[in-house]
Point group: C2
Chain length 162, copies 2
Amino acid sequence: MPQQSFQDYYPHVFAHCYGCGRLNEHGHQIKSYWDGEESVCHFLPEPYHIAIPGYVYGGLLASLIDCHGTGTAAAAAYRAAKEQDSNAEPNTRFLTASLHVDYLKPTPLGVELEIRGKVKELKGRKVVIEEWILANGVITVRGEVVAVQVPEQMVEELLKAK
Amino acid sequence: MPQQSFQDYYPHVFAHCYGCGRLNEHGHQIKSYWDGEESVCHFLPEPYHIAIPGYVYGGLLASLIDCHGTGTAAAAAYRAAKEQDSNAEPNTRFLTASLHVDYLKPTPLGVELEIRGKVKELKGRKVVIEEWILANGVITVRGEVVAVQVPEQMVEELLKAK
């Protein structure tokens, strides 16, 4: 059986995100996994995800950093919860409080990108993820996401509105 | 005659960007204008540009900050060049060196967003733009873009490759 991605665990109501929702047919539907202590995601941009000819659009790269970051935050929180309670449920979802992206060099279009992440801080409801994107094995982008767990009140309101 | 947007001045080879290129039929095609000392852009997200139900996808908001920022940088550089030489050409294009976005509160889906920008620094080939996004008149996002003018060598290579 293939390994389930972080995003496959998102509760139905949180699975519509344009970047990472498995239920958003217009979206990117990224899939993130653990690879040891790092998280990893692969993504092939479309030919129209262009910045200037030959290079990937920076807004897409920011989106990949964003959603791979919140996915890694949810997975890290679940992993930490399981250490406390082996029956913990993976039904957490994180939102982005802040996003920082440094474009180190142009990212070539036409190759599968690798987005990698690492937990920098995990404290209560806040998780900080540092990330980087590789194209042809070269780091072209570095980023950081501060992710915050969705408040219970918002979860309840969304479930009620469903 | 309607006012031309910053992006309408981009040379053909630089008008394919997914966020702001007038020639990218799949993209957002944002249009930015001066409004006194601030720049402004209006954008209505699609229903599928969703983060969690009822709210706009953060990656799209980052993309709007990104492209409105580089557009404002190009317009500010052109304005500064014209002060030196009234015959200056508006054929500059800026790329993003770094992008920072703070999501202050969830941005509601279904309303036209207003993205505003202001030049924080203009020094040589580097322009820093501070920005904010309003939904229903309330600021939901703040951001900053460090934009750098496309190097002449890259311009020449792109024109040759055309």
